[in-house]
Amino acid sequence: MIFSDCSGCTNSVLKMTKPLITIAVTGLNAIDSPGPGVAVIRGLREAASFDVRIIGLAYESLEPGIYMHHLVDRTYHIPYPAAGIDALKERLEYIIGKEKPDVLIPNFDAELYSFMKLEKHLNTLGVHLFLPTFEQFEERHKVNLPEFGKKHGIDVPPGFVVSDASEIFTISKELEFPFMVKGKWYDAFVAYNFEQARTYFNKISAKWGLPVVLQQYIHGTEYNVIGLGDGAGNTIAAVPMRKQYITDKGKAWAGISVDDKKLMALTRRFVESTKWRGAFELELMRTNQGKYYLMEINPRIPAWVYLAVGVGQNIPEALTLLALGKEVLPFEKYDVGKLFIRYAFDMIVDRSEFETISSAGEL
């Protein structure tokens, strides 16, 4: 905290001011399958230890966060990961030159690798990130999840990696129908027979590339945990949530914070065993027998992060402080039984704004 004289005040009481930090954030696509950016920014705006100036980084001109001027101060287009790391580097150097962000928070799985590659370079330009290591990023990948489970003593459904449609028939004998067909980055479908499995394989591989993951379907209730590891094995934050309302895309549209000791122990074991660095989301299925299966690990802040902020764990703030090299003590509690309920909201935007971001690449 910085203390300064309150020169404009009528009395001599000292006014406490907070440092102003400039933070660049991706994932402004607050759509039906939302990117986490807008929720991350809401957390940052409510930070107790600093004030923020937010630089949005967007891939598309219609990402709603671009036009939320009460949350985002300025937005720049950045190139899709497919354009390559050099294109991203060049664009970021331009943005950094103009805005001088202190911290950058990437929020998409598919972009993380590029930002991890650029982390050291960005550090030299004065931009701090707090991301998982390459080893952590790779070993938790969907395609490596069964091995990950064995290594860290966490129950994971049986799964197989498929790179050719012809393998599905053989593998479908190893799994019981129904099973999940998952893309390496996004998308998952439940296949009830061989034909469906093959159709989903083709659909997913066309969209997200190979390989595709086949994973045993587990009947149960979906729980997610949002957390933050300090990279030394300590769990800085962890909030478990039960999905209350799930969209047709499998996203939680409403959820409630819960207090499950088993879930918290599993989360701490995950962080301790992997020495996880950065934010994460564990996706779990709880069977009727009360057994948890780890379905996926997302190596970033999830879109429902604002629930964590609302129950007392401001994860975006803590992550920012860790990125800046500050000491952050673990959160010890959170409110149980608080719900988040997402909603859609129509903004009215002047055409000139859309024109500016589309043509100039910044707004």
Partner: protein, 82 residues
């Protein structure tokens, strides 16, 4: 049968299990039984009360209460048997 001590019970019969995140609405009789269980009353006492209050044969109440206890177990609203 004991009620899960963490279970949040509202006066209007709304139940919330903080461990699972599940919530339930209990009708007046279910609410009364849960309240009695929370007070530590035995199954026999509950059967007696329901039978007297609703003028139902004890054997019928016993059977229904057995089913109700099964539901409480299924949803992890209870923790152990007597």
């Amino acid at each position: 049968m004991k009620i899960n001590k963490d279970l949040a019970i509202s006066e209007n019969g709304f139940l919330f299990n903080p461990a699972t995140g599940e919530s339930f609405t209990a009708n007046p009789m279910a609410f009364e039984i849960i309240r009695m269980l929370k007070e530590g009353q035995s199954g026999e006492k509950i059967v007696e009360w329901v039978s007297r209050h609703y003028l139902v044969e004890k054997s019928t109440v016993e059977k229904d209460l057995h089913d109700f206890f099964g539901l409480l177990r299924l949803h992890q609203l209870s923790v152990e048997n007597d």
